[in-house]
Symmetry: C2
Subunit: 164 residues, 2 copies
């Protein structure tokens, strides 16, 4: 034991740290799940420059995975310019991905919560909701692409999706 006593919101953690969570059934590689969760938090503004990510050894203990796996995730984030490790201190966010304002996101989130409740009331389970979201999003993407190809005769546009 040292000086830190574990609790729900551990002391010594700067900013709002996120809590990683794994979904073994998803088929997504562990290290990628970590990367994606950080990116999601960055997109939604739940994490910003200066915030600390969970310490490698903490993640290892919480998720029962190998340090190398956590390192692979953090290295990927560093490579994308989103985080940086500081030996002796921790790993910290160095970039951001937020695109919409926090209030807008909060509103969208509430609307989505209502939709989830409606879905549950309609008899859908969680997998069903995911299925419907995936399907609707795919449609949305295709419609958008179709609309663009209709309008882009003279204004070609890049559609690449990297984080750059």
């Amino acid at each position: 034991m040292t000086l830190v006593q574990p609790s729900d919101s551990e002391p010594g953690k700067a900013g709002s740290a996120i809590a990683f969570q794994l979904d073994p059934a998803s088929g997504v590689p562990t290290f990628l799940q970590l990367v994606q969760q950080v990116e999601h938090a960055l997109r939604l503004g739940y994490l910003t420059t200066g915030d600390q990510l969970p310490k490698v050894r903490d993640v290892v203990a919480d998720l029962a995975i190998n340090p190398n796996t956590v390192m692979k995730a953090y290295r990927e984030l560093e490579h994308k310019g989103l985080a940086s490790g500081r030996p002796g201190q921790g790993t910290f966010v160095t970039g951001t991905l937020s695109q919409a304002g926090l209030p807008e996101i909060a509103g969208l989130r509430r609307a989505l919560q209502r939709w989830l409740v409606d879905s549950a009331n309609a008899g859908l389970d969680e997998d069903g909701m995911v299925a419907l979201f995936s399907s609707t999003l795919r449609d949305f993407r295709e419609r958008g692409a179709a609309a663009e190809s209709r309008a882009a005769r003279s204004a070609p546009r890049e559609v690449g999706g990297g984080v750059a």
Copy 2:
């Protein structure tokens, strides 16, 4: 050349066949993406007993993947009792997963479409929408679990997620 001429809706395909689509960036194994897409279509009632799945060789040609990979997906579906291969004919749906009525789903889908439009108007890109959905769903799951653990003192319940 044989008798079939490729077009947008190929002749010779019974029922409503689904069109597979891969997302290389997702990290999800190819064969699992195929399985999940069929399961999603089954959940939403877009595919039902008797419908034909894309022929192995068609999938191979369309997605530029190996027959073994498609077979792995179809074998998994067969193992779950959802599909069955008939040499010389194709692979057909043998089970269903739909839980809510088609009209309910259509309504939920429209609501979700509106939400996607709103999100786009708020400045969110597709990744942002996925991020917000994932985050909100995770909350939803935790809230539900909390509500259950509050009410389930005397009525324990299974939460397993398999397709059985």
